[in-house]
Symmetry: C2
Subunit: 338 residues, 2 copies
């Protein structure tokens, strides 16, 4: 099965699962709270629809992992909904923390309803995610739900650590290259590896294969972030929708930038002198290339991609339709242009 | 056993449980994140100590309920720590939402470290609470931990509903009396009834007695809030540490105020004309008395206190040292002067 056919097949079930949780746990008399959540999830309000909902990559990862491991993807829907709400709770809080005014082309929750309500919307979404795994279900054994919840909560505590490190470094102009990985582990890899581990747990495979699936998600998460960092400087602006060198002007601590800082050459000297102007982007991007930051980033992306695909190969014993689609998903995330 | 002796006995174990969770889940390289949490919990920083830690009423309720129901209070320590972190996460977020600069005489987390970090501190504390019940423990069966987590998450979703209702009413000058109870249910009663229900679940008593313990916590929560509202207007200022009629000047939607508004007499007329000044407090407090708001509030507090103590009596079959201390705790919360 192609990835696209699986998305066509599973996506309505994921949205249904998410919407049922919202209806079950937020009563009518809190109608606006419900609407705020439905707005962020892309179901309601200005600009709602497929574009606003995003790709739901994390739920896809759970469903496809569980099916690639020989399980029934429908059984992992509660876990998929849990991860999706938890990821989205982190986005709602992240938008406040980063002072972001738009997400997927729409006003963020805090811009529309204010910071106090937006904090609460995030808290409610986090709780909806937890409830998805806590409520006893016929289709899900207590033991599996319990393990999945524990894996997810461990990812969440790492998420707050990544967020803490990221915010702590915001005001520093120089940070060592070594701080990049713990930050990315928390912000991206922890939740993606939780997804592939949970998929394996729901499928009920042995611990060794579970570990390979987990490792697959972990490397995938790191690789995804490194590719993102590459695109932030050298991405095709028509495809990313961002200006060339956006990350340079914003002063983001991405991998190519941290690498170049560690080289202490022209780039590092200019960087330490203060904010980068748009007209300098071409020259600085050239220095990044000359000082090895581009090739270092590409090498890292390649190695991590290889690690991810190698772990996936070891995890999947018998190739099936779903494992093919899962590989396609991984490749689409790592070879993307936006 | 007196309540005081039980506090002396159990308090070090509660603090130890809470601190071990922090050390186990927030690593050294996130030292400042750890410190921010330790600061809020009253263990570190300016003004740390017993006063800053507060009374840990919610963990006391769990421990005493489980022991009053014939269980071993030590077995409910993980649940007690979970509730305490969850209550404190809600306080950290609440302080941002209410723009509160101090709590228990100390600067709030957001005042010290900024709103973005404070949001993240709350998220991390919520997760620490969840991890307390998710991590497999020898002393706690999976089934009991699972039920406790589910009860707690249901309380959390109600907490976000109460918070939503409270914030939504903030800008309205008039709100109907009927909206008071769902708000208080979410903000206070949901978590207190979760505490007494969890205590009963950990003790392993039958469903009927569990329900009575739960009802006890629920009525206790409502009564607690009504008493708080009474103190906010008529409390002895030397004991509450607040000025007389603080809640009038702040325009809070407390029970006596909502009752008086529903009467549509002098108080309601003055209230609708705009903010109350400190010099008007005495006159308006008199109107509240004349229009029946004080006696209504006292009647409600009395009825709810009776409900709480009646449910407690039905729940406790064989009085023991702990049930005596639990009754003392309930009475101290309802007959307090600050």
């Amino acid at each position: 099965m192609s990835l696209e056919s699986f998305i066509q097949l599973s996506r309505p079930a994921v949205e249904h699962e998410l919407q049922e949780l919202l209806k079950a746990w937020i009563p009518e008399d809190c109608g606006v709270l419900r609407s705020m959540i439905a707005y962020h999830m892309g179901w309601e309000g200005d600009g709602s629809g497929a574009e606003a909902q995003g790709k739901r990559v994390r739920s896809l990862l759970i469903l496809l992992t569980s099916a690639a491991a020989g399980g029934n993807w429908q059984k992992s829907l509660p876990a998929a909904a849990a991860v999706e709400y938890i990821h989205n709770f982190s986005l709602v809080h992240d938008d406040i923390q980063d002072n972001s005014h738009t997400r997927r082309g729409r006003s963020t929750v805090w811009v529309k309803w204010g910071i106090p309500q937006a904090i609460n919307v995030g808290d409610a979404m986090y709780t909806l995610g937890l409830l998805s795994l806590s409520k006893p279900r016929e289709s899900l054994s207590g033991e599996i739900a319990e393990s999945s919840a524990f894996i997810l909560q461990q990812a969440c505590i790492k998420l707050t650590q990544g967020q803490y490190l990221d915010m702590s470094h915001e005001k520093e102009r120089f940070i060592p290259l070594g701080t990049y990985w713990p930050m990315v582990e928390g912000k991206t890899a922890a939740l993606l590896s939780a997804c592939t581990e949970i998929g394996a747990v729901v499928a009920g495979i042995d611990a060794r294969r579970q570990a390979n699936f987990k490792k697959f998600g972990y490397s995938l998460g790191l690789a995804f972030q490194v590719v993102d960092d590459w695109l932030g400087i050298w991405g095709n602006t028509e495809k990313t929708g961002k200006s060339v060198g956006d990350d340079l002007v914003a002063g983001k601590k991405t991998l190519p930038i941290l690498f170049a800082l560690s080289q202490k050459k022209n780039f590092a000297e200019r960087w330490s002198a203060g904010p980068i102007q748009a007209r300098e982007v071409e020259r600085l991007s050239g220095w990044l290339i000359d000082e090895g930051a581009k090739s270092y980033t590409e090498e890292m992306a390649d190695n991590l991609t290889k690690d991810a695909l190698f772990s996936l190969k070891r995890a999947v014993i018998d190739e099936n339709d779903y494992s093919v689609a899962l590989k396609e998903l991984a490749e689409s995330l790592l070879k993307r242009e936006n």
